[in-house]
């Protein structure tokens, strides 16, 4: 290779090296202000907008007791609540194998009632009493309607704490047992005999029960309901006339399917006293039937035009403390609406446009709910309705909280907003 050729080759390699070095870029320098920082600063402002929320209203009737996710059993001063339920009918006979003959139920050996305790307070001697109720239960049934039935001696009394402490969590005499599920729920299995739970052909085996609760203190629990798939359930152990010979399946072995049936509750609800107070000018959230309150915002121009909202917090002042025990704590959620049509405004499904915070019984503190995503959505879409609905989560629980309305002179709802002003681009 000639000398110029070698030189060109060396130069080419140098060019390749230079090209490789040019492929990366890093221009971030630490800011040593003010000498070596760009002109202009990011300006963050924090303000409480007291007059932007208004035209509020409260509505009741969203979730009834029989629609609730939990059945409340409470015996507290000033509040009594009792779960009630009616089981589904069972067939009046069974077929065995290829035998097409219907073999009738001729009697009941026993019945096992399963209740799932999904919530309880820290207490001792938690006792459940199972009462037999008339079958005529529906959404209009009240505690007063069933007063006589609950006044009668209970079919069974089960001390949950004793069962939990028993070997194998089982009572060898009554055959009651408990099981602690993943997540902390407790399944309570209560045995009833044929006298306590007779099979009545005219009722197709339907049974109705009520549950009362007692404890040394804080007698306040919730049972699962059919709405969440964890409602009361019964297991019938039946006598079947099988070719003239009664069959009693052993209770501790896997029984033939045809002889044990596990109907879920046909109807479940809870009756309570006192009933929910009438709505007034305050912002009611929760209770049964569930109440919601709508708030409408009128965002100021400066917020709409030239700012980015970094944080927005809804500030609500309760009219009084939430009554109840620690287990009565619930979330108050502020949810945006797809369109503002008052009580029936459809709520947004977008989780970014909702915020929630826990309300604890006894606390009188101002409630703060983060609604940053919701306010940002309002600013981004000028056509979006600037309204939000306050609701309870889970909805349909007995406690109810009320907040001061926008008409209140000093404690009206407010929006605490942290925002950044438009940066002065292009100013040297």
């Amino acid at each position: 290779m000639s000398r110029p050729g070698r030189r060109a080759r060396v130069l080419g390699r140098l060019l390749l090296l230079a090209g490789a070095a040019a492929c990366t870029e890093e221009i971030t320098a630490p800011g040593v202000c003010p000498d070596y920082c760009p002109p202009g600063q990011i300006t963050v402002r924090d303000t409480v907008l007291r007059a932007v929320l208004g035209r509020d209203s409260a509505f009741r009737g969203y979730v009834q007791a029989h629609d609730a996710a939990q059945l409340y059993a409470t015996s507290l001063p000033g509040r009594e609540s009792r779960p009630i339920f009616r089981t589904l009918p069972i067939p009046d006979g069974f077929r065995f194998g290829s035998d097409t003959t219907l073999r009738p139920i001729v009697g009941v050996d026993s019945l096992r009632l399963a209740l799932i305790l999904v919530r309880r307070d820290s207490t001792t001697n938690l006792t459940l009493r199972i009462h037999r109720l008339p079958l005529v239960l529906d959404s209009t049934t009240t505690l007063a309607d069933l007063a006589a039935d609950f006044a009668a001696p209970p079919l069974r009394t089960v001390n949950v704490d004793s069962l939990l402490a028993a070997p194998g969590r089982r009572d060898s005499v009554t055959r009651d047992s408990v099981a602690v599920e993943v997540g902390g729920a407790i399944t309570i299995l209560v045995g009833l005999d044929s006298a306590q739970a007779p099979y009545v052909v005219a009722d197709s085996g339907r049974l109705a029960f009520g549950v009362t609760v007692a404890a040394d203190s804080l007698a306040n629990i919730a049972l699962g309901s059919g709405e969440t798939g964890s409602g009361p359930r019964v297991s019938w152990f039946l006598r079947i006339d099988s070719a003239g010979v009664d069959t009693i399946p052993p209770i501790d072995t896997v029984p033939p399917v045809s002889r044990v049936v596990n109907p879920i509750a046909e109807f479940d609800s809870f009756v309570f006293d006192p009933p929910a107070a009438a709505l007034d000018s305050t912002l009611a959230v929760g209770g049964v039937p569930a109440a919601r309150s709508i708030l409408r915002a009128d965002l100021p121009e400066f917020l709409r035009d030239s700012t980015q909202v970094l944080r927005a917090t809804l500030v609500l002042v309760p009219t009084g403390p939430l009554l109840g025990t620690p287990a009565d704590s619930f979330f108050v959620s502020a949810v945006g609406v797809e369109t503002d049509i008052g009580a029936k405004s459809p709520l947004v499904s977008d989780s970014l446009r909702r915020g929630s915070t826990l309300v604890r019984p006894g606390a009188l503190d101002t409630l703060r709910i983060e609604v940053t995503g919701l306010v940002q959505a309002w600013l981004a879409d000028t056509a979006a309705p600037t309204a939000l609905m306050l609701r309870q989560v889970p909805e349909g629980s007995l406690p109810e909280v009320r907040f001061q309305p926008s008409a209140h002179a000093t404690l009206a709802p407010a929006l605490h907003v942290t925002y950044v002003r438009r940066f002065p681009f292009g100013v040297p």
Binding site: P4, R7, A8, L11, L14, L15, A18, G19, A21, A22, C23, T24, E25, E26, I27, T28, A29, P30, G31, V32, C33, P34, D35, Y36, C37, P38, P39, G40, I42, V44, D46, Q308, V309, L310, R311, E370, T372, Q376, H416, T418, V420, R422, F423, P424, F425, G426, V427, P428
Partner: protein, 369 residues
């Protein structure tokens, strides 16, 4: 310039227009608070000599009069990669950038006139600064990180004409259109996730106009002298909301001397002044100088140079200083129809609370179709 040549020039410009947005020179931390870092209208050859040869180099969009000796259509461009180390005393940072600061097409027209069209960086406005601090919000100290960045430059689009008036005297003049834009973004990110990250971005546009004139004389054998002056109007800054700023631009002037005692030995020196103090209240007038040499023929000559002076923008009562040295070489390829130039430059800048060192690798390409 013939029609064929114009087509070639157009294609060349079109090819490079894609990188025109990156047409930035060497940025400096000192200029963050000012209009930007003034670019250098110097090709790789001139910059490898510390800038001393720029007034006499037709491949540098500096003196229009230097174009008078261009006989063939020539297109040239350069790219640079810089490694910049910042030392604030307690804080250090290492930055790395690549730029395409220059593109030029020149060629002969009719009746001895030579024309040139091209762009170079007038003011570089590229930076990204990260600031960490704490502010009180809702009664709590909240830590945050700000990122403020600007990407872009004010580009000097120059149309120049030059003509040799006599055997010993050449004249040139240029019209400078200052255009360009910067993509600017500021963001604040709080450590507390309860606060959203704020991001604001916009594009800032620049607009200005200027003119320049230059004379080049050969008073003695092997000696060439040059004088030049340039005046620009105002730099108008605009965003989508309209005009945001209007800054006066400086009057600039300079002189240079070139001496070629032997065919393969060339020396040059130059000095220039720029009245940047008219632009902002805290800007400084600057004087910059350079001395350089080129030894050797057209194949792999050795180029050396030193430069010094001041930067127009910086904090404090005195302008930041700049001192640098450069070395480079070049080679002719394709029977002289192409040229490759390579150079390395080292710069030291110093101002209140900051010492900046910059290593820049330069690559230049020239084509003579």
């Amino acid at each position: 310039m013939s029609g064929r040549c114009l087509v070639v020039a157009g294609l060349w410009l079109g090819l490079w227009s894609g990188v025109a947005s990156d047409a930035r020179g060497q940025d400096a931390q000192f200029s963050i608070g000012g209009l930007g870092t003034p670019g250098r209208p110097e090709g790789v050859r001139a910059r490898s000599t510390g800038g001393a040869f720029a007034p006499f180099d037709a491949a540098s969009p500096h003196l229009e009069a230097a174009l008078a000796d261009v006989t063939r259509l020539t297109a040239s461009a350069m790219g640079t990669t810089s490694h910049r180390d910042l030392d604030f005393g307690t804080t250090q940072a290492a930055l790395r950038v690549s730029r395409f600061p220059l593109l030029l097409v020149s060629g002969g027209l009719r009746r001895g006139w030579v024309g040139s069209l091209g762009f170079s960086t007038y003011l570089d406005r590229s930076y990204r600064v990260r600031i960490t601090d704490t502010m009180d919000l809702r009664g709590q100290p909240e830590a945050f990180t700000d990122d403020l960045s600007s990407e872009g430059a004010v580009t000097d689009l120059r149309v120049a004409l030059a003509r040799r008036l006599t055997r010993c005297l050449a004249f040139g003049a240029g019209l400078h259109v200052l255009v360009g834009s910067t993509r600017e973004q500021v963001s604040r990110n709080f450590a507390n996730p309860s606060y959203s990250t704020s991001v604001q971005r916009t594009e800032v546009f620049y607009d200005g106009l200027g003119g320049s004139a230059s004379l080049m004389a050969d008073p003695l054998a092997g000696v060439r002298a040059a004088l030049w002056a340039r005046s620009d109007s105002r730099l108008i800054t605009e965003t989508d909301d309209g005009e945001t700023a209007r800054s006066d631009l400086p009057l600039q002037a300079g002189a240079a001397l070139h001496w070629q005692p032997r065919p393969f030995s060339r020396f040059a020196a130059s000095v220039s002044w720029a009245g940047w103090s008219v632009s902002t209240s805290d800007a400084f007038d600057t004087v910059n100088w350079s001395v350089g040499a080129e030894v050797g023929g057209s194949s792999l000559p050795l180029r050396l140079g030193v430069r010094g002076g001041r930067l127009p923008f910086g904090p404090g009562a005195e302008a930041p200083t700049e001192l640098g040295a450069a070395i480079g070489t070049g080679v002719r390829i394709a029977r002289g129809r192409g040229a490759l130039d390579l150079g390395v430059e080292y710069l030291e800048r110093e101002g209140p609370g900051l010492r900046e060192t910059v290593w820049t690798v330069m690559v230049g390409v020239a084509i003579r179709p």
